[in-house]
């Protein structure tokens, strides 16, 4: 048994050399960042830079999930960033609650009469929700004091939303552009809902202070950043191998067939809707996990993160990186999101034309738009498609 498992594993890797190359590349990247990071003493990479890189790895993981649902299964979901955001909110609730609890318990410990649990709870509620004019803990924060339960929420809330939404949409055989519009509508509705002050998630203030991990107050941010970076890399590695395995076997064969000719797959006796639902829900859950790793590094989450445009960007990353190849999604997400933070963060020098000054903060989107059009027209296989030429040459 053990030997056959080993043989299988070897065969999977032998048939998918790109997985090995990817893991090797990821490991080198992790080692390089670790050695150069502030947290390990060399300080060539600042803590904020390590955080940006860790967050980029999380974005790469969502992009891989997006590639599976769109590039392999043909469902152009423009809503996977909503699942990413929900994952962030779910973990953010615990981070914010536990930290506020810590601060309040400490400050009240000086009081002459020890506070009752109700008083502590009320103080936490006032502290967190005072900003939206409330002093009561909403019902949905019922599990917020437990990390385990809230981690479960990271998986369950986006997972159930994807399951119900997907079941309704696929059962009615909504496909193509109509499905894309439907997922956008879902994302927009969710984002608008979260902007309300009375939804129990602090409206447009969102959740903040997420970079402070309760129980680890003694750890400097530079160390925390490195740990989150490692966790993100591990998540990306595991997620990548999981999805590579998923799309490599007969299951992958069936979902690619669904992408290319859904009706024909039905006449082969496959229940197409179940396959779509499995892929949609699984990728939604992975997106949520990526979000749960991303937002503690970002430090803040607010409804603007879930705005419909974010999910469209996700599709753009995958298209630029190259659909239907997982490493393409990773390349696309990494290149575009890093370029985006370089251009919009003032990293790129302005260009003086004499009569006009090109300010990249404003012009980056135009550049991205041109890049997207150029890739679609001239490199339909995306950046990842360049590897095809390398492989053919060797």
């Amino acid at each position: 048994m053990a030997r056959s498992m080993n043989a299988r594993r070897t065969r999977f890797l032998a048939e998918n050399p790109s997985v090995l190359w990817f893991l090797a590349g990821l490991s080198c990247f992790v080692i390089a960042v670790t050695v150069l990071a502030e947290g390990s003493g060399v300080s060539i990479l600042s803590t904020s830079m390590v955080k940006v890189l860790g967050m980029t790895l999380c974005l790469c993981l969502v992009a891989v999930a997006m590639d599976v649902v769109w590039g392999y299964c043909g469902i152009l979901s423009l809503g996977h960033f909503a699942f990413f955001g929900l994952g962030g909110y779910a973990i953010g609730m615990w981070l914010m609650y536990a930290r506020t609890q810590g601060i309040i318990v400490e400050s009240l410990s000086q009081a002459l009469i020890p506070p009752t649990p109700t008083e502590i709870k009320d103080a936490i509620a006032t502290q967190i929700f005072g900003v939206v004019g409330s002093n009561e803990l909403p019902l949905i924060w019922g599990f917020a004091d437990s990390l385990t339960l809230q981690l479960l929420m990271v998986v369950l809330v986006p997972g159930l939303l994807a399951l119900v939404f997907g079941w309704l949409a696929f059962r009615s055989r909504v496909t193509g552009v109509y499905l894309s519009i439907l997922t956008q509508a879902m994302t927009l509705a969710l984002s608008l809902y979260l902007f309300q002050n009375d939804t129990g998630l602090r409206g447009n203030n969102g959740l903040s202070g997420l970079q402070n991990i309760p129980g680890l107050e003694a750890w400097p941010q530079s160390t925390l950043a490195l740990w989150f970076f490692w966790a993100s890399a591990l998540a990306l590695g595991v997620g990548y191998v999981l999805f590579a395995w998923l799309v490599s076997g007969k299951f992958g064969s069936v979902i690619r067939a669904v992408r290319d000719n859904e009706a024909r797959v039905r006449f082969l006796g496959y229940h197409v809707e179940s396959y779509k639902l499995v892929v949609f829900t699984l990728t939604a859950v992975v997106s949520a996990l990526a979000g749960a790793l991303y937002y503690p590094q970002a430090g803040i989450i607010n409804p603007a993160e879930i705005a419909p445009i974010a999910s469209i960007y996700l599709a753009v990353w995958v298209a630029i990186g190259g659909r239907g190849r997982l490493y393409g999604a990773v390349i696309g997400a990494a290149v575009v999101s890093l370029a985006s933070s370089w251009f919009t963060g003032g990293g790129a020098p302005d260009i003086e034309l004499g009569f006009y000054r090109i300010n990249w903060t404003d012009w980056w989107l135009v550049l991205l738009g041109f890049g997207f059009v150029a890739v679609t027209l001239f490199f339909p296989r995306g950046i990842g498609g360049l590897f095809d030429y390398l492989v053919r040459k060797s």
Partner: protein, 246 residues
């Protein structure tokens, strides 16, 4: 010989156009049957109804010994009870290899999680090879299906049908666009398949039907005009008027 498929009194209207009008056909097992008729006679619509793509306005479609109605079933359920279909235009999965196309069609469990943990058994590999030999694609298993010639794609699709191991094969114009040699091969495959199962072939080409040498049903304006041997139906005056006499 009991009926495997029993279509009775079926009618379908598309936007006021009667595509199928009180059609009744009975197919036995095993049997080879050719369905001919002029354009718009309802041949393809008949297949659409049997495979669940189109719902009839009235009538019955019964299947098997226990006479189960097919009308309430989805396309995939109908495929799983044992009805396979080959489309007029060859529809194989062009991006995938010939072997993967056949593997997908093989009669195995179809549930997503079963498929996820599926490992190709030696029996499956042998079966794929056997079918590939039957359809003359044994050397092309690793090839991309999209790179096959038109005739080879038609065969691959027939091979996928055989891999499904259905009790009833519905084959829409299998010889379209084939060379005479390829046609002959196709006839052989279909005749061999019909020894153990029911095969219904829709065809325009009389020469091809003659070579199939089987019972023929002539459709016209959505109902059966004549049925019997090819010689019998070609002597029928009505058939000559509507179809052959044109």
């Amino acid at each position: 010989m009991t009926a495997l498929l029993e279509v009775s009194g079926v009618s379908v209207t598309f936007d006021g156009f009667r595509a199928i009008n009180n059609l009744s056909i009975s197919i036995a097992e095993p049997e080879l049957r050719a369905v001919i008729g002029p354009n718009g006679a309802g041949k393809t619509t008949f297949m659409d109804i049997v495979t669940g793509k189109t719902r009839p306005d009235k009538g019955k479609v019964l299947w098997g010994e226990r006479s189960v109605s097919l009308l309430g079933m989805s396309e995939s359920e109908i495929a799983r009870v044992g009805i396979g279909r080959k489309f007029q235009k060859p529809t194989v999965f062009e991006e995938q290899s010939v072997g993967d196309n056949l593997a997908m069609a093989l009669r195995n469990r179809r549930e997503p999680f079963r498929v996820l943990f599926y490992r190709r058994s030696d029996a499956d590999t042998a079966r794929i090879r056997e079918i590939a030999e039957e359809i003359g694609l044994a050397d092309d298993l690793p090839r991309r299906a999209g790179d096959l010639s038109h005739g080879q794609k038609q065969w691959l699709e027939i091979g996928m049908l055989l891999a499904q191991d259905p009790r009833l094969l519905l084959v829409d114009e299998p010889a379209a666009g084939m060379t005479p040699a390829e046609r002959e091969h196709t006839t052989d495959i279909l005749k061999r398949a019909a020894r153990t199962r029911a095969v219904v072939v829709i065809e325009h080409d009389m020469e091809f039907v003659r070579r199939l040498d089987c019972r023929v049903t002539v459709l016209h304006e959505g109902s059966v005009l004549a049925e019997g041997s090819l010689d019998h139906v070609t002597q029928n005056q009505q058939v000559i008027d509507v179809y052959l006499g044109r």
